[in-house]
């Protein structure tokens, strides 16, 4: 009887241990100061048109690969802890997205994020918030919505805006198919 209970407990502990990596990966970014939960708009807009969730491990490797050719980019990548992008096609119905904007804005304010830019036009809205911890940047959140798409971007860690263009050039990636820039 005792052996049976011990085996059951041992099995339970091992199952928990084995499932922990998956949970740990999912929660890797959630515990960071710069993380913001955007919720899920799938119920209103269907599957996201873009969903990017890059954690610290991948960012480190991308930085290492850029290290020889561009040390500045590698240094900048080392400051990043996570990059998340979620976009949904809204089909001329931005009401749910704008409601989500309000919810996220309240969440950002309650967590001490500072508004950097807010543009409120009839056909387009852009919100940029930054999270500071003392004088250290913990994250940046950008939300945009127009008649076609709602976009949530969450940069966790430090990002130098001056080097954004350089970093994009360094990647040398064809993104025309994924994004139409105005």
């Amino acid at each position: 009887m005792k052996t049976s209970i011990f085996k059951t407990l041992l099995t339970g502990v091992l199952c928990t241990l084995i499932s922990m990596p998956l949970l740990a990966q999912e929660d890797e970014l959630k515990d960071l100061e710069g993380f913001i939960d955007f919720g899920d708009l799938s119920a209103a807009y269907g599957e996201p048109s873009i969903s990017i969730n890059i954690g610290g491990t991948l960012l480190q490797f991308v930085g290492l690969m850029s290290g020889e050719s561009n040390p500045e980019t590698a240094e900048m990548m080392a400051q990043l802890k996570g990059v998340r992008v979620f976009g949904y096609p809204i089909d001329d119905d931005p009401s749910v997205a704008r409601q989500k904007f309000s919810e996220v804005k309240s969440n950002l304010k309650s967590k001490g994020w500072e508004p950097v830019v807010q543009v409120n036009e009839d056909d387009e809205q852009v919100l940029i918030y930054m999270k500071m911890s003392g004088s250290a940047m913990e994250g940046m959140t950008v939300m945009t919505v127009d008649d076609e798409e709602v976009m949530f971007i969450n940069i966790i860690g430090k990002l130098d805006p001056r080097k954004l263009g350089d970093m994009m050039d360094n990647f040398d990636v064809d993104i025309d198919g994924a994004l139409e820039l105005d």
């Binding site: 241990l17 991308v62 950097v116 940047m137 950008v142 430090k158 001056r162 994924a178 820039l181």
Partner: protein
């Protein structure tokens, strides 16, 4: 049994055990010479002792020994540390499983294709950031004009730069 009988019995036991003193031994022998009943008791006691000494100890059957050993003692002796005890065997068997589980918790080394995909995703993410920045600048420009736009947009950028610079200086 009166007091005298008790005394004689104690003397006989002491005599058989070799613990009776010389004076008491002589006194007991003298009394036995006069008392046939006492003499008979002494002889019978000797004979009984001789019989007891002649009886050998028969070894118990193995089955009985096994059963007796299986009976739990009222007070268990303190368990000796032994790696062969079942609980230690199970614990030792769990060690490699725990090591495997912990190793699974460590972040996997991404493959080259995963890193390449991450680079592309990052480029897309930063392109969206850039797009938001362009739109913001354009809106500021159209709202407040070129001159003020530079001032306002410059202020925003300066603010972001300043915060980033402060964080860098703090780290240094």
């Amino acid at each position: 049994m009166n007091r005298n009988d008790e005394k004689r019995e104690q003397q006989i036991n002491a005599l058989l055990d070799g613990e009776l003193g010389e004076a008491d031994t002589d006194e007991l022998k003298s009394a036995a010479g006069d008392d046939r009943e006492l003499a008979r008791k002494i002889v019978e006691a000797y004979q009984l002792q001789q019989l007891m000494d002649d009886i050998g100890v028969e070894p118990a059957p193995a089955s009985l020994t096994k059963r007796l050993n299986a009976i739990p003692r009222q007070h268990k002796p303190a368990a000796k540390f032994s790696l062969l005890q079942p609980r230690w065997v199970m614990a030792l068997a769990a060690v490699p499983l725990a090591i495997i589980a912990v190793s699974l918790m460590q972040p996997d080394t991404p493959s080259a294709s995963e890193v390449a995909r991450a680079r592309q995703d990052l480029a897309v993410a930063f392109a969206y950031l850039d797009k938001a920045g362009q739109f913001t600048s354009r809106e500021i420009n159209s709202t407040v004009g070129n001159t003020m736009s530079d001032a306002v947009a410059g202020s925003v950028i300066r603010n972001m730069k300043s915060q980033y610079k402060n964080s860098k200086e703090k780290e240094a």
